[in-house]
Structure formats: C-alpha cells, structure tokens
Symmetry: C2
Subunit: 132 residues, 2 copies
Amino acid sequence: MNIGQAARRSGVSAKTIRYYEEIGLIPAAVRTGAGYRDYGEAEIETLRFIQRARSLGFSVKDVGGLLALWRDRSRASADVRRIARDHVLAVEQKIAELEGMRRTLVALIDRCHGDDRPDCPILDGLSDSCCH
Amino acid sequence: MNIGQAARRSGVSAKTIRYYEEIGLIPAAVRTGAGYRDYGEAEIETLRFIQRARSLGFSVKDVGGLLALWRDRSRASADVRRIARDHVLAVEQKIAELEGMRRTLVALIDRCHGDDRPDCPILDGLSDSCCH
DNA sequence: TATGAAGCTTCCGGTCGCTGGAAGGTCAAG
DNA sequence: CTTGACCTTCCAGCGACCGGAAGCTTCATA
C-alpha cells in the first residue's frame, strides 16, 4: 500500500508519516522497486495507535515510549499507567492555567462596554498590575 | 536603564526583549554610546503591558494589535473587546479539547490495574478505535 | 502509444515564541 | 590592572509538523 492510502487509512498525513520515519518513531518503510514506501496492515495498526495517542495529547516522545511498551509483551502495565497518569496531570495543569486566563479575560470583557468610545477596562487591566 | 534591569522590572527576559524588538513588536531601543540599549519608564510600562497580555494567552500578533489600540487615544473599545472575545472563545475551545482528552485518559487509567502484569486497558484502548 | 494527471521521492524553508550558546566589547569594583 | 558581570551580535535548536519546488513513476484515457 502506498503512503497516500496508508495516510487515508490511518488518519496520519503522508507528510507526517515521513516525518515519523525520519525522527525514528516508526522504522523505515519497505520500498518498492521504484523507491515508493510500501505499507501493510501491521504498519497501519501502528500508525493508528500513534494517531490515537497523539489525539489524547501525548507528546511524540511519550508515544515512542507507549509504542515500545505496546510491542513488549512482557511489559508491566504499571509502566503504561505511569506515563498516562503523568500526562493526565500535565493536562489538568494546562486546563487550570487556561481557566485562570479565561476567568481574568471574562472579568475584563464584562467591564468593557465595547462601543466606539476609547475608554476600555481591558486595556486598563493590561496596564495596571491586574493579574498575578 | 540597561536591558537587564528592564527585564527584571518588566518580567520579560532580556533575550525576549531583544526578540520583540527584532520582530517589530516594540520599536528599536535608544542606544548608549557603547551601543547598549537604554530603557526609560515608558518602555518598562510597554513591556509590562506585553507581559500581562502574553500571560493571558494572547498571541504575539494579538499583542501587537492590542498595543496599537493602547497607544491610539481615539480607539473604539469595541475593537479591543472583539480581540479579547475572540481570544476567550479560542481559550474555551482549547479547554474543551483538553477536558475531552482528560475524560478519555481517566477512563482508561481507571480500568488499568497498574501492576507488573502486561495486560493493559490503556494500550488496548489505543489499539482499538476507542476515541472519536 | 502518447499524454496528462495524480501520485510518489527528496530537500529546504517556514511556522510560533522563544532559549541557549559562542565570540567578543564594556563597565564598575577592588 | 584584573576580574567578573554586564552588554552586543549571530547562529542554531526546540516540537510537531506543513508547504512547495524539482523531479520520478504509474495509470487511465484518447
């Protein structure tokens, strides 16, 4: 199967598949006589795994770790769990950070009448030491 | 005032101040005889404004827009409000995305016993079409 | 069989918002 | 006069790709 079809079937773009190969996340694909990359079902499975892990926000590096554990039949599920728990903590921290921003922004926006007059509590808030 | 002190007083690192100058977010600083950048209170104010806007998650480009409005005494507060509202929407979207990830991750982690055995619902979940 | 479109290849550069480091000039204290 | 803490410029790299150019290959159609 060509890279284009592999891309369609895995949800990972052809560009990105090449990139993953280049950085060593996936092994170099087998080539056809003409030099085209050739993929089978196993590779599609791997790409799908990667796609799902990425869509859950795991870094490419973490995905590398998960892939290694996925392939290792004698893995300890605790190792997988640790990676996932660390990641969930990072996600929660990011959410908290964004909610802090959101709160401050909404508070500023609520106080701004938002018409053609120049006085603006949003800009005032950014001028004073409003936040943190 | 040297760039180092300006950095300390504004909360923007010296490296970053130079970077902001380079990309045109702030005008080129006045130089001393020796070629050192020289900052006054007005510049510190500007840097603080930038620092706060960045800490609320505005892109550097948006900060440029906000700075222009900040300096424009005949601005319409509606213009500021629009930038802020657009940004808050983007922040909310990002939060929703992260919460979706968090939900899925927590569900997977809860099902994983996390010991030295190899069977692991987290990896299974990443293999199947679990999400989306 | 020719031709043209669609696919593949590599390589290079850009994105965003910085950060680190090398090589060198300047300044104030001891 | 030296030392160390500044400052300067320039270049490279991070993460996770995307876009595009130049040049193959493959396949369907005229």
